[in-house]
Amino acid sequence: FLLPLGLTHPHLLFGSVKEHHVTLPNQSEPWDMKQLLVWIRGNMLKERPELFVQGDTVRPGILVLINDADWELMGELEYELQDKDNVVFISTLHGG
């Protein structure tokens, strides 16, 4: 299903494209964030995966917003994705 993916600073790692519309392959169980991260790491990250994903979750310092709400309120990695969900990754590590 379709998933618009927005990136602020990490876009450098994704070939400098800030917005991606992603269609995840169908599977029997619903996709959750953990699986999404694994999928992104495998299919979208052009370089230096450790700057985006660390272990199971995103690198510390990267904010995740699901439909403009903090993912902590949604259950973080356990949140189950729905069609047309808008996921945004914002890096807080760079400058000010």
Partner: protein
């Protein structure tokens, strides 16, 4: 989910709805969209109010910005400084009686020359930022880092504060009241005045923006040579920071700004605090991370964003469409351990995920730091301040100090005999090289002082060792990492020479100088004769 043949039966028990719709802790009505600190969920409207209020509260609590002052906003394009810019716009635009009252200007420093960007990339970034700045209708200055090569050496001197305002609440209130009075009196002509001042500011903007001189590739190369001569990324970042401060200071002084606002967020200041300790800047922690930094004397640096965590800033920018431009820096995509600053950053951010109160704890600790003696002493001669960072020199050689211990171990580890080379801290033998200029008589001496390096050029070699004695401990470490000290911009080298000559001269005539403590000694001598 939108799949036809999905089975819900067996898995219904597992699926605890992760979407726990929390209510905002403040208004208790709307659904929360963001968690701040440890567990406070806010809805969009309450968050906006909270964010805006914090900015004004920060400025109101520390009453350093007086009405009508010219304040320079240092914008790097990153999220925190862009957010600061929008807060200033917000604060100046309201008609509330508590609106902010100062005249802002913007400065952006293009550091692409040091971080290895191509001219097209830099121009693109500058163009993007210019469009943002133009929307604000404030004066803006685009300064390239290459212009640091043509700074005057007066930048390295702390000016005296232009107005000796005692920082008491009553004088601040009086100033505010006075300002409101004058505004009221001018009220009938306000619209005319506004358009007039707006027009004049626009035309000034024309002139000022044209002043940013185009930089030549030679300048960029000289800058690159400077940074290439620095071996470690730690020292590079430190040097970049110093040069940036000098540029901002120079622009503020020449354009008449008395305050500079930097966009350091709480998270960034916590990282800065820890990395400064590692860099050897412990003595100046209070000024480096505090709200106001008075070390330059006439220009005071304030940090109004120091209460915002980077999460809050990122969230606000996203929700309310604050434009920010991403500009790669020296440490973009660097390894974790590439530099002390970078390592500290990853340390603090990692710790913060597991212990969400890390940053605020460090922040509160830094609030408690104060300098013991007033940092700004107009009586202090310039030689008592570090050449580069203008904080008080902390490298006076006292017996049994920790600093002397490091020097001795350095000596020993270099496997030199005690008699061969002079230790860097003791009165350098290199002063003999400089001494030549002085011993050759009065006439020569005059030429030496006015000749600004004319006859001292032969003594260039010992000069590089002398630079260290003018620096504080951490600046020394930075310079030590440089292979070619003469790649430093001219203003630093010439100011160093000048201070060296001054201190030589002072030593020579010290017996003739009248000093309070010496008066007694002289009286005693006279008495005994």
């Amino acid at each position: 989910m939108c799949q036809v043949d999905e089975e819900y039966n067996g898995q219904l028990e597992h699926r605890v709805t992760p979407r726990v719709s929390k209510k905002c802790v403040k208004c208790k009505e709307n659904t929360a969209v963001l968690i701040i600190r440890a567990g406070d969920a806010f809805c969009r409207g309450c968050f906006k109010e909270y964010f805006i209020h914090k900015f004004r509260a920060m400025l109101g609590k520390n009453r350093v910005i007086f009405p009508g002052e010219k304040v320079l906003l240092a914008v790097s394009g990153g999220p925190a400084s862009s957010s600061m810019l929008s807060q200033v716009q917000e604060g100046l635009s309201r008609d509330a009686p508590k609106k902010l009252r100062f005249h802002p200007g913007i400065i952006y420093i293009d550091e692409g020359g040091a971080s290895g960007q191509s001219m097209e990339e830099r121009e693109r970034a500058v163009a993007q930022l210019e469009s943002v700045f133009r929307d604000t209708n404030y004066h803006y200055h685009i300064v390239h880092l290459e212009q640091v090569l043509s700074l005057p050496s007066s930048v390295l001197e702390a000016g005296s504060s232009a107005t000796e305002k005692p920082q008491t609440g009553s004088s601040y209130k009086a100033a505010v009241d006075q300002f409101i009075q004058t505004k009221k009196n001018q009220h009938p002509d306000l619209s005319v005045e506004n358009t007039q001042s707006h027009l004049s500011s626009l035309s000034m903007q024309e002139v000022q923006n044209g002043v940013t001189s185009p930089i030549t590739p030679e300048h960029t190369q000289a800058l690159q040579r400077l940074f290439a001569s620095v071996r470690t990324l730690t020292a590079k970042e430190d040097l970049l920071h110093t040069l940036r401060q000098h540029l901002i200071l120079h622009t503020a002084r020449t354009q008449g700004y008395t305050k500079v606002m930097m966009g350091d967020s709480c998270s960034r200041l916590a990282i800065k605090l820890l990395s400064n300790i590692s860099l050897g800047r412990g003595a100046s922690l209070a000024t480096d991370t505090g709200f106001s930094d008075p070390r330059y004397g006439d220009v005071v640096i304030v940090r109004p964003m120091r209460d915002y965590s980077s999460k809050e800033i990122a969230y606000y920018n996203r929700m309310f469409d604050i434009p920010s431009v991403f500009i790669p820096g020296l440490d973009t995509k660097a390894q974790d351990k590439a530099s002390i600053q970078h390592l500290t950053e990853s340390f603090v951010t990692k710790l913060q995920t597991d212990f969400p109160s890390t940053v605020s704890t460090i922040y509160r600790t830094s609030e408690k730091l104060h300098t013991a003696c007033p940092p700004q002493n107009t009586n202090t001669q310039p030689s008592a301040k570090c050449l580069l960072c203008l904080c008080a020199l902390d490298t006076k050689l006292e017996e049994f100090s920790a600093y002397q211990a490091t020097l001795i171990s350095e000596q020993l580890s270099q496997r030199r005999g005690p008699g061969t080379a002079a230790a860097p801290g003791l009165p350098p033998a290199s002063s003999a090289g400089q001494g030549q200029c002085y011993s050759s008589g009065g006439g020569q001496r005059q030429g030496c002082i006015t000749g600004e390096g004319g006859c001292c050029s032969s003594a260039k070699e010992p000069e590089t060792v002398d630079l260290k004695s003018l620096l504080c401990y951490s600046c020394r470490l930075t310079i030590k990492d440089m292979t070619a000290e003469d790649a430093l911009p001219q203003y630093i080298l010439s100011e160093a020479e000048r201070r060296k000559r001054r201190s030589q001269m002072r030593e020579e005539i010290s017996e003739f100088l009248l000093d309070e403590e010496e008066d007694e000694a002289i009286l005693r001598v006279n008495g005994s004769l």
